[in-house]
């Protein structure tokens, strides 16, 4: 089963992602901040990372750096309320950049495409 690690500090939103992505047939684990995400990714490297950027503690970009530093093969989808990070050089190494929306269609579509692409490689 495909393992997705969602990094999201808002509890209710994290629950939404877990419900919705599980419904899509993924195994979903949640990290509450960057540090937790780094540890979890290390212990159990996921097949894909959904990453919020603005988080207390270690933010998403820093976490991304650390995780990719360990294993740069994990695909990353940035999922953020800010559109501005799209122009940040730091986010270029992400595989997708999604602006958060109540409509999760775009997120799901991106995840599906990335995973299919990876499978093909």
């Amino acid at each position: 089963m495909t393992n997705i690690l969602v990094v999201e500090d808002e509890k209710n939103q994290a629950l939404l992602y877990r419900n919705e992505l599980s419904a899509e047939g993924y195994s979903v684990s949640i990290a509450r901040d960057g540090r937790e995400a780094v540890t979890m990714a290390k212990l159990n490297p996921p097949d894909l990372l959904v990453l919020d950027i603005n988080m207390p503690g270690m933010d998403g970009i820093e976490a991304m750096g650390k995780i990719l530093g360990e294993n740069n093969r994990i695909p990353i989808v940035i999922n953020t309320a800010y559109s501005s990070f799209k122009d940040n050089f730091m986010t270029w190494s992400a595989d997708a950049y999604i602006v958060k929306s109540a409509d999760l269609t775009e997120l799901k579509k991106a995840i599906k495409e990335i995973l299919e692409k990876r499978k093909g490689q």
């Binding site: 808002e10 209710n12 939103q13 939404l16 419900n19 919705e20 603005n54 991304m64 750096g65 650390k66 990719l68 530093g69 740069n72 309320a81 800010y82 559109s83 501005s84 122009d87 050089f89 730091m90 270029w92 190494s93 602006v99 958060k100 929306s101 109540a102 409509d103 999760l104």
Partner: protein
């Protein structure tokens, strides 16, 4: 011993006739003296005889000739002796003969001397010419009481003869003497004349060289004599016969230096006359010097005429240049200044060319371009404008003032000139050549002159023209081209010289104005930058707030909306729940749309690519890092190839790349070393190499350096090279790396050359 007179009578007659014969034989008494005395001895006994005469205008007398011995064969002439108390004095006074009976007892002053010489008695007889006593003849004897009045009749007959010959001799000697003097005088005069002639020759030469006309006038202003220069100076073919002052000097003025000179006072009297000849003004200076005539009166005047047109011209030109120079420094407004310069070249009161064209050098673009032109487009326009201009602006000052206040007019000539652009490497163009050589170019025959291209010839359309460079600090900033196609006045050396001097002043003024303008531009840029900064600061602050709010609202909205959708998807059986969920979904997406419309102000601006000289950018960057490098003991070598073509890039971004690469290089040289920044051209790219003498990289490290978040450093995000790569990519360039472990690395940025 005395002879009886009667006995002597026949002898006397003979002697008298003998003496007359002797006397008439010569004019010199000395020659005949001995003969005369010998004759006398026949009829009269004496031991010595002498002739004394007074010295003219003196209180002395002289023994003119004397027999010293008894034989009378030795002659002597005495020294002057005081007349006072002498026998001669007495004779001169009385005109009567005197007998001294005995020198021993007589009181005459000379007797003492005679007595000593053994003379005891004397007889003095006057020598008269036309009743005037000229001297005396004196007989002396060793015996006292030797002479008596009985001898007087004989002497009466002889003495007039003697007197005559004495007088003649004296006169003759006088004449001889004056002739001698005259001869000397004559010789001296000859010498003086020769010197005078030489001096005159010299003077003539000088007069000739200076082109001075000379003439001598008498009291009635008739010209007595004139040199060959005079008619030349006055532009006459030749001097009329018996010319008078007015025939030459064309007097109209009330002041006449000749008349002044004739009034008598010594000195020099000057005037300057303006002569218009062949349409040109000539200035002639006349100097009248009074001189004395033979009678010693101031009856003659020497007049010197000198053509001082050149000098006047120089003076006028100097003051003109000063005036123009002042005008040029009155404005720093470049357009007005250029207009002023061109007007100065064309104004009749100034340099008086028909047309003037200004070309300026654009260093950045490497070209010379037509900037402005002043002048009429046709002969008719020329005539109209000139008439108009001279009518409206009588003085140069007013004309220049008018130009300053007037907006530049866009004449057809001006427009045509502005279309001309020549690259600085097109040296066959005379304008470019003028810039390069920094020397004026005078073209006399445009049709055949190899320096003139067909294009330029057709543009200008004139046969003769001049190009003068505007040189400042050893470089030409532009060129003035001037010509006279309408008046067809030839361009003389003088014109070119004047234009050259003026161009020097103009160049300085342009440079000043340009400096001022670029300063104003800089200030304007600074002001704009500051404004932009303020604005962006405000925008950033606003953007930060709005994005923060958007984010804070968006997150709960995602959750609300997300769950509402979840509810909707479960297709609740209760209609109310389904409706409520649908409403929530709708309202949330409406809110999200609104949030999406909030402009993200914190977004960085699009990269701004501009034309940049890479070397300047490198220099700027190196400048920024110099302190940083010095601190770390790193030697910086800059090796920039000159003359690289400009590239089109975002200087801020490329600078970021350079700084990034330099920082990496420095960090690889912990022990210090050498950093080399080098620029070269590589085909259609400009290549910048940043080389260090650091530790270098292992091949496996080199593979990963452009991977995000890869770093060998303890601190750092590992995105620097990724970012650099991305930026260079955005510029359609290449970022290359080569490294030898333990020797150092070289990063090369290749940026395409865009035309």
């Amino acid at each position: 011993m005395a002879m009886k007179l009667v006995e002597l009578y026949p002898a006397r007659k003979e002697v008298i006739s003998n003496i007359q014969r002797i006397i008439s034989s010569s004019l010199n008494l000395r020659d005949i003296y001995v003969s005369v005395v010998n004759e006398l001895k026949k009829v009269m006994a004496f031991d010595r005889v002498s002739i004394s005469i007074p010295i003219e205008g003196d209180n002395h007398a002289i023994t003119f000739v004397a027999s010293v011995t008894n034989t009378i064969n030795v002659l002597e002439e005495g020294k002057p002796y005081p007349l006072k108390g002498s026998l001669l004095e007495r004779i001169l006074l009385t005109g009567e003969p005197i007998i001294v009976e005995d020198t021993k007892s007589d009181s005459h002053s000379t007797n003492g001397l005679f007595y000593k010489a053994g003379i005891r008695s004397r007889l003095g007889y006057p020598l008269k010419v036309r009743g005037r006593v000229i001297g005396s003849v004196n007989f002396s004897s060793m015996e006292p009481h030797h002479f008596s009045t009985t001898q007087f009749p004989l002497l009466e007959e002889i003495c007039p003869q003697l007197a005559m010959i004495t007088e003649n001799t004296l006169l003759f000697e006088k004449i001889m003497l004056s002739e001698e003097r005259y001869k000397n005088l004559y010789n001296n005069a000859r010498l003086a004349e020769e010197q005078l002639r030489q001096e005159k020759e010299k003077l003539d030469y000088v007069v000739d060289v200076l082109g001075i006309g000379l003439c001598l006038m008498d009291r009635n202003m008739n010209i007595l004599w004139a040199n060959a220069n005079l008619p030349k100076v006055w532009g006459l073919a030749e001097l009329p016969k018996r010319a008078r002052c007015k025939d030459v000097f064309q007097c109209t003025e009330a002041y006449c230096p000749v008349a002044k000179a004739l009034e008598g006072a010594e000195g020099r009297y000057r005037e300057i006359k303006v002569l218009v000849q062949d349409g040109r003004r000539r200035y002639i200076e006349n100097t009248a010097i009074p001189i004395r005539d033979e009678q010693g009166e101031m009856g003659r005047v020497l007049v010197l005429s000198r053509d001082i047109t050149q000098r006047e011209k120089r003076l006028r030109q100097l003051s003109l240049l000063r005036e123009l120079g002042q005008a040029l420094h009155e404005t720093l407004h470049i357009e007005k200044l250029l207009n002023l310069i061109l007007t100065s070249v064309t104004a009749g009161q100034a340099l008086a060319f028909n047309r003037a064209f200004l070309f300026l050098v654009n260093e950045e673009k490497g070209s010379v371009y037509g900037k402005a032109a002043v002048g009429p487009s046709s002969g008719e326009e020329a005539a109209r404008i000139w008439q108009d201009v001279s009518h409206r602006y009588p003085t140069l000052e007013e004309l220049l003032k008018e130009v300053m206040e007037r907006e530049p007019l866009d004449s057809p000539l001006n427009v045509k000139t502005r279309l001309l652009v020549y690259p600085l490497n097109k040296e066959e163009e005379i304008v470019v050549r003028c810039v390069k050589e920094m020397r004026s170019q005078v073209v006399k025959e445009a049709a055949t002159d190899p320096r003139v291209t067909r294009e330029f010839r057709e543009f200008l359309g004139s046969k003769e023209f001049v190009c003068v460079p505007l040189v400042v600090k050893g470089g030409a900033v532009g060129v003035i081209v001037a010509d006279n196609p309408y008046s067809r006045e030839p361009i003389t050396e003088d014109h070119v010289h004047l234009l050259n001097i003026f161009a020097g002043q103009a160049a300085l003024a342009i440079e000043n104005a340009e400096t001022c303008e670029s300063l104003e531009e800089k200030i304007e840029q600074l002001r704009e930058t500051q404004e932009r900064l303020c604005r962006s600061e405000r925008l950033v602050a606003m953007g930060e707030i709005s994005t923060y709010i958007a984010h804070e609202i968006r997150n709960p909205l995602v959750t609300i909306g997300g769950f509402a959708r979840s509810i909707e998807k479960t297709k609740p059986e209760e209609e109310d729940v389904a409706t409520a969920a649908r409403i929530i979904v709708e309202e949330v997406s409406r809110l999200e749309k609104i949030l999406g419309n909030i402009k993200d102000f914190s977004k960085p601006q699009e990269p701004r690519k501009v034309r940049v000289d890479i070397n300047t950018l490198l220099e700027d960057t190196c400048c920024l890092t110099e302190g940083y490098l010095r601190e770390r003991g790193i030697n910086l070598i800059k090796n920039f190839s000159p003359g690289l073509p400009p590239t089109f890039l975002d200087p801020a971004q490329i600078k970021q790349v350079l700084l990034n690469l330099i920082k990496n290089a420095v960090e690889s040289m912990e022990e210090g070393g050498t950093l080399t920044v080098q620029s070269t051209r590589e085909e259609q790219y400009i290549r910048t190499d940043i080389s260090d003498t650091g530790q270098g990289m292992a091949p496996e490290v080199m593979e990963k350096i452009f991977t995000p978040f890869f770093t060998t450093k303890t601190s750092g995000t590992g995105v620097g090279l990724v970012v650099s790569h991305k930026i260079v990519d955005d510029h359609d360039g290449k970022l290359r790396v080569s490294s030898v472990q333990g020797r150092g690395s070289t990063f090369s940025i290749l940026l395409p050359i865009t035309e």
